[in-house]
C-alpha cells in the first residue's frame, strides 16, 4: 500500500504539471498543494497506522469485477456524444463562459477571473465545498478522536531534549522556515484576487506549516500552540463567516450571497464579499487539515502506547 500511496502522490504532481501546461495555474496550485502534498501525507499517516500490505481476499471478487466493467463501459459509451476536446463550438464555450470572460471585470472588478467565478458567480458551489470540508473534519473527529490529557511542560521538555540531537539540522532549518511558510500562506490568501491563490490553497499551506512543526517537535508541543478547542472553533467560524455573508446580503435586500448589496458601490460590495468568504474558506480549510492530522497522529500514538503496554 505504500507504493500505491506514492503513486497517488506522483499522479497528483503530474496532474499539477499538466494543469500548468493548460494555463490553469489556480487549479495546478490547488492540485499540487492538496493532491501531492497534504493528501499524500495523510495517506502515509494512515498507512503507518494500518500496515503496509493489505490482507488478500479469500475469494475472487468476480461479481464486483463484472459490475465495474459494465459501469465503466456504460460511462465510456456516454462520452461518445460529447464534443471533441477543445472544439470551439462546444456548449461550454458558448453559453456561460463568454459572459464570465467579458463581463467579469465590469461586474466584479477583480483581475483574477478564476476567483471571481469561484467566489461570486458560483458562490453557492464554493459554499457547498466549504461545508463538505467541514463535514469531513467533523467525521474524522467523530470517528478518530482520542481524549488526551495534555502533557505537562516538563514532559514535553524531556521529549524535546531527547530528540534534539537526532534531528538538529532539520529543527534549525524548519524553525527558520516556518514563519516564511505561514507568511506565504497569508500572501496566497489575500493575493487571490490578483494572481493564482485564494482560500483553499492558503489554508492548505498554513496547515502544512503547522503539520511540519508537529512532525519535528512532537504532537504535544504542537498541541500547546494550536489547542484543540481553538482549532475546532475556528473550523466552524469559517463556515459561519461564509453563511453570514450570505445572510447579511439577504438582510440588505439582495438574494443569498449577492455581494453587490453589501456596500454602497456594487463593485466595492463584491470586493468585500469576496474578501470575507475567502477568509472563511481559508480558516475552515486550515483548521480542518490540522484537525485531521492531529486526530490521525493522536490515534497512532494511542495505538503504539497500547502496543507498548501489552508487550
Amino acid at each position: 500500500m505504500f507504493a500505491v500511496v506514492m503513486l497517488a502522490g506522483i499522479y497528483g504532481l503530474v496532474s499539477a504539471s499538466f494543469f500548468v501546461a493548460m494555463d490553469a495555474v489556480d487549479v495546478a496550485f490547488t492540485e499540487a498543494s492538496v493532491g501531492a502534498g497534504i493528501s499524500t501525507l495523510l495517506m502515509l499517516t494512515t498507512v503507518a497506522m494500518t500496515g503496509r500490505t493489505e490482507h488478500m481476499a479469500s475469494h475472487k471478487p468476480l461479481l464486483a469485477l463484472f459490475v465495474v466493467t459494465v459501469t465503466g463501459g456504460l460511462l465510456i459509451y456516454g462520452t461518445f456524444d460529447m464534443p471533441y476536446f477543445g472544439s470551439a463550438d462546444a456548449p461550454i464555450h458558448n453559453h456561460v463562459a463568454p459572459r464570465y470572460i467579458y463581463d467579469s471585470m465590469k461586474e466584479i472588478g477583480v483581475p483574477n477571473m478564476v476567483t471571481s467565478v469561484l467566489a461570486s458567480y458560483r458562490g453557492f458551489d464554493t459554499f457547498g465545498e466549504v461545508t463538505v470540508i467541514f463535514t469531513a473534519g467533523i467525521g474524522v473527529l467523530a470517528l478518530l478522536s482520542v481524549v488526551q490529557r495534555p502533557k505537562s511542560d516538563a514532559v514535553i521538555e524531556a521529549i524535546n531534549d531527547s530528540m534534539h540531537e537526532k534531528h538538529l539540522i532539520l529543527r534549525v532549518v524548519i524553525k527558520t522556515m516556518i514563519p516564511f511558510i505561514l507568511l506565504y500562506a497569508f500572501y496566497v490568501q489575500f493575493h487571490g484576487d490578483y494572481g493564482p491563490g485564494g482560500g483553499f490553497q492558503a489554508g492548505v499551506i498554513f496547515a502544512a506549516g503547522i503539520i511540519m512543526y508537529a512532525l519535528l517537535f512532537g504532537l504535544s508541543a504542537a498541541r500547546q500552540v494550536i489547542t484543540q478547542p481553538v482549532v475546532q472553533l475556528l473550523s466552524a467560524v469559517g463556515v459561519l463567516i461564509y453563511g453570514s455573508v450570505g445572510l447579511v446580503s439577504m438582510l440588505n435586500g439582495g438574494t443569498f450571497l449577492d455581494y453587490s448589496v453589501l456596500s454602497a458601490d456594487p463593485i466595492a460590495g463584491q470586493h468585500l464579499g469576496i474578501l470575507l468568504i475567502e477568509l472563511g474558506v481559508g480558516l475552515t480549510v486550515a483548521s480542518v487539515m490540522i484537525i485531521i492530522f492531529f486526530s490521525f497522529s493522536a490515534r497512532s500514538e494511542y495505538q503504539q502506547a497500547k502496543k507498548g503496554e501489552s508487550l
Partner: protein
C-alpha cells in the same frame, strides 16, 4: 548588454536542464539508495537554482527578479534539508550504504609476492 544577458541566461538554463536530465538518469541507474538520493538532491537543489538564475537574468522587471530571488533562497534552504531528512531516515532505519569490501585492486601497489598470493 542585452546579448550578454541573453547568452548567460541561456547558458544557465541549459546547464540546469542538463542537471535535471542527469539527475533523472541517475535516479534510474545508480546502484544504491544513497547514490540515488544524491542524484535526486542534485536535481532538487542545483538544477532548480540554475534554472532560477537563468530566468532571473532574462527578466527586465525588478519585482519579478526579487520574487525569483526569494524562491531561490527558499530552495537553497529547503531542498538540502529535504535530502538530509531522507538520508537520516535511511540511516536511522539501518539501511547501510553499499560499500565495496573487495580490496584486491588496492594490492597492486604492494610487492609482487603479496599480489601472487592473493590471486
Amino acid at each position: 548588454m542585452e546579448i550578454v544577458l541573453s547568452l548567460l541566461s541561456g547558458l544557465f538554463l541549459l546547464f540546469g536542464s542538463f542537471l535535471c536530465l542527469s539527475g533523472g538518469v541517475g535516479i534510474l541507474r545508480f546502484p544504491d539508495f544513497y547514490t540515488r538520493m544524491h542524484a535526486a538532491g542534485v536535481t532538487d537543489t542545483l538544477a532548480a537554482a540554475m534554472i532560477l538564475i537563468g530566468l532571473m537574468l532574462q527578466n527586465p522587471e525588478m519585482l519579478v527578479i526579487i520574487k525569483l530571488m526569494m524562491i531561490l533562497l527558499m530552495t537553497l534552504f529547503i531542498s538540502p534539508a529535504a535530502s538530509h531528512a531522507l538520508g537520516q531516515a535511511a540511516v536511522l532505519n539501518n539501511l547501510l550504504p553499499l560499500v565495496d569490501l573487495n580490496m584486491n585492486h588496492l594490492a597492486k601497489n604492494t610487492t609482487a609476492g603479496d599480489e601472487s598470493s592473493k590471486s
